[in-house]
Amino acid sequence: MEIDAGDEDGSAAADDTGFLARVRDNDLLHSFLRNRLVVVAAAVTLTFVLLSVLAPWIAPHDPYDVRTLSLLDSHTPPAWEQGGDPRFLLGTDDQGRDILSTILFGARISIAIGILSVLLAMGIGVSLGLIAGYFGGPADTVIMRIADVQLTFPAILTALLIDGVARVMLGAHQSAGGEFWILVVAIGLSYWVQYARTVRGVTLVERNKEYVQAARLIGLGPFKIMFAQVLPNVMSPVLVIATINLALAVLTEATLSFLGVGLPPTEPSLGTLIRIGNNFLMSGEYWIVIFPGIALAALVLAVNLVGDWLRDALNPKLR
C-alpha cells in the first residue's frame, strides 16, 4: 500500500519502531502462533495456493492436453483399488483424465476466480462505501438503497443472473477464456454489498474526525481525502471480510459450475469436476466426486478458519 511509501528506508530498524521490532512485538503474530488450529488452517491454505500455482510443473498429467488422454484409461479406480493404475493415483474420470492433476488444475482456476472476484467486489464495495459515507445525502441514499435491494437476493441468485445476462450478451463472440471472466464479474458483483456497508459505517465515524478537517483545511479534494486519509483507517475490517469472502467466492464458483453455468468440462474447476463425478456416483465410481469434493471442502474450511481468526484478532473488543 502507498501509506508507508518513502518512509521505509534501510535505517528504519535503527530505532524502536523498526520493522523487526514491530514484527516481534506484534499482537497479531502472537495470537496467530498461540492458536494451533489457525496455524494448521493457514498451512493448508498456503499449500493449496502453492500447489495450484505450481500445478503445470508438478501435476503428473496435463488434463488440458487432449493428445495425452486416452479413453481406454477412463473410469480407472484409485491406485490402491483393484484394477487401479499406479500412473493415476486418485483414478481417472470419464474422459481418462487423471483426477489428481485435474484437482490441481481445478484448484488453480477456483482460487484464481476466488481472488479476482474478491478483488473486484472489494474495489467496488470499498469505493462506493467511501463515497456513500463521506458525501452522505443523496449519494448515500442511492448507493445504500441499491445495496439493500441486492441484499434481499441470495448472492448465488445474483451471480446466476449476471452470469446469464453476460452469456447472452457475449454469446455471439465468446472467446475461450470468456467463461472465466464472466464468472469473476458475476461473483464479484454479487458480493460488494458487505464491503460497502462496513466501509460506509467506518467512514461516517472517520469523516468527522479532526484529521479529516485538517486535510479539508489545506484544500485537499474529497477523493484525495477519501483514498489517502480515510481508506487506511477502514482497511482492517475490509481485510477480514475479504478473507471470509474468499471462501464464499470459491464456494459460489463451485456451485455455479456444479449447476452447469460455470466453467465447461474441458476446463474443469473443482465444481465442474464434482458435477461430472455426480453422474457416476450411482455406478460406484466414487473417486470422481469424492476427491475434488474433499479438496474443495478443505480449502474453504481452511480459508474460513483463517478469516474467523483474523476477525477476532483484529476486533479490539474481543481481546
Binding site: I3, D4, G6, D7, A12, D15, T17, K209, E210, Y211, Q213, A214, A215, R216, L217, I218, G219, L220, Q229, P232, N233
Partner: protein, 332 residues
Amino acid sequence: MSEPPLVDVRGLSRTFDVSKPWLNRVLEGDERRLLKAVQDVSFTIERRETFALVGESGSGKSTVAKMVVGLLQPTDGSVTIDGVDMWKGSAAGDIKALRRRIQMIFQDPYASLNPRWRVGRIIADPIRAFGLAKGKAEIEHRTGELLRLVGLDPLDARKYPHEFSGGQRQRICIARALSSKPQFLVCDEPTSALDVSVQAQILNLMRDLQDQFGLTYLFISHNLAVVRHMAARIGVMYLGRLVEIAPAGALFSAPQHPYSRMLLDAVPDLKMSGRPRKMIEGEIPNPIRPPPGCAFHPRCPLATDQCRSEVPLPLAFQGRTVACHEAGAGRI
C-alpha cells in the same frame, strides 16, 4: 497604526436544519426546526494579536471558528481575511493562497492526527498540498526543522501518532499547522484535552511561536484562566451571539455584561482574597427555541421587561462593545 485588521468578521450567522426527514414532517405534521448556532457575530482581529472567544458549551464558539477557517459555509455575513472574502466573490487563486496562510489547531489531539500515517507524512501534508518544498530531502529537512521548533526530535518523524502523549501530539499538530508558514492560526480549545501540567507548556510554546513568526491567533476556550494568559482582547459568546468584546484587562477587572460578570464570579479564587465565589445559575437554554428578547434574560439577575421582549444590539461603550440594555446603567 493605520494597518487594517487582518481578520474582519461581519454579521456572521449560521443556521442548521435539524428537522426530521421530509416524510416524517408530512406525516407527523411537524414544523421545520432550525437551530441558529451563530447569529450576527462581528469582530476584528489586528495583526499579531490574540483574540479569544469564550463561552459555555453550545454557545457557538466552534461554529464561528469553522466558518472563519473556511470549513463551514456561513448562512449569512462575511469573513474577510487580509482583504480577501473567504466565501463570496473572490477568485479561486486568491482563496487557495489564503488557505495556505490560515491553519487550525484542534481540540482533540487524539483525533486530529491520522493514526495510520507517520508523523513525518502528517506534518509534510500541507507542504506537499501547497508545493512549498520540492523533493524528498527538502521536505524531510523542513519536517525535521518543524519538529525541533515545537520541542520534539526530528527522528520522531518516523513514528506513528499513538507513540506520543497528548501534549506531544498537540505539539505535532502545531508543527503541522506551522508547516505551511501561516499568518493566522485558529485554535479551537487547544489545551482542553490536556493535563493541567501540560497545558501551560503548550500555551507558552504557542506564545513563543507567536513572537517568533508574528502570528495572529483566534483562540477559542471555555477556560478563563487560559484566555487571560493568552489573549489581548476577548469576546464573550452566549447562545450564538457575542455579548461583550473587551480588552482582556478591562474585561477581567470590570465586566460590563451580566453574563461576563457571572462567568468571572464563578472562577475559583486562588489568591484567597475572600471574594465570595458564586455558582453559575441555570443552564444555557435550548438554542432551537431561544428565549425571546435578550437570550440571557432567564438567567440574568438584572432582567427587566425590556430584556424579555427586545434583543439588545451591540453598542460601543468605554472602548468595548456590549450587547445589554442595562450596560452603563451602573447596576452591573
